[in-house]
Symmetry: C2
Subunit: 196 residues, 2 copies
């Protein structure tokens, strides 16, 4: 008696919600099926495997995160853009830890994997944001990687409960943003000794 009316998209969305609740490595086809009011094998009518499902979640996550960051940066520049973009990313990871974990666990499956453009949109936002600090062109890639490293590192450490005293984590994050901002402005254009 078909009534659930599932689609690949709805299954993916439900899986993403589930994964945010129970954690990425606790995702199971049985649990997801239960949530959807369906028996486990029925899911295979919409998804070819659990691995593919995880990959779909990853693409969804990267797309959503990209949108959030882009929206946050909209209309801002320099320090404001950095602060807004970084906060947007951190917020996304806090609200969707499972999706973010899925995104980190995935590797592009091929040259036409939609995960690739989704990732590139995120990078493009960071690049746009960095353009607000007129850095020496040769340093842009390093600044980009440094930025990605701190944000990714902070978000994952926080998600993993790596910071003991919860109280001041917000404060640490704004400190971190400010630290990066100062560094980027100090190293701007001049190609100062930051390129030792």
């Amino acid at each position: 008696m078909p009534k659930a009316r599932l689609t690949p998209a709805s299954v993916t969305e439900a899986a993403a919600a589930l994964v945010d609740e129970v954690g990425f490595d606790n995702l199971s086809m049985g649990l997801l099926a239960e949530r959807l009011g369906v028996k486990t094998p029925s899911l295979y009518k919409h998804v070819t495997s659990q691995a593919e499902l995880a990959h779909r979640i990853a693409v969804l996550a990267m797309t959503e995160a990209g949108d959030a960051i882009r929206d946050a940066i909209q209309g801002r520049s320099g320090s404001d853009a950095l602060a807004a973009g970084a906060q947007a990313m951190r917020t996304y990871v806090r609200e969707h830890p499972g999706r973010y974990a899925a995104a980190n666990a995935t590797r592009p499956t091929g040259p036409d994997d939609p995960f690739i453009p989704a990732s590139e949109r995120v990078l493009a936002s960071w690049a746009a944001m960095l353009s607000g600090y007129d850095l020496d062109p040769g340093q842009e890639i390093h600044a980009m990687r440094t930025l990605r490293s701190v944000l990714h590192g902070f978000a994952t450490l926080e998600a993993a409960g790596g910071f003991q005293i919860d109280a001041s984590v917000d404060e640490s994050f704004t400190w971190l943003i400010n630290f990066i901002d100062q560094g980027l402005r100090a190293g701007a254009a001049s190609g100062s000794d930051a390129a030792r």
Copy 2:
């Protein structure tokens, strides 16, 4: 016909080596048993479960990383200590990606988990290193978290193949270290506007 002469320690060591080769999520009891020339169930004479094995790998990793960082910092201070410590950590992760992944996947199992002191030793090294920059006491925790975030973020992104152009990753890392060093020295003592 007992001849393999395994011990919990030797099994853990072999598992750590295996995990560095095949990746943390590809660890399986069967694969490990094969490497040790033993049948799968025999491993349970030395290890209670795969989860416990993973946890042992994590403790080993944290201990080894802690030693490497401590040794690198030995006898250095300020910028030199930062550069040496950071490089030691990055090198450890590059050489032992599976162990590092195990360490990240683990949570302390209780108050007397040896993982806790092992982690603390790492933090203590970072703290010692940071003491070389006389920061305002109130900022130390933020600086520590920022430092952990960049290093962890860079290492995991690199391990995950997150940086496209391999060529300049070394350069990016030294740039990153220098960036942090500059920021720490700029924000030292004064409690400058880095604490806005």
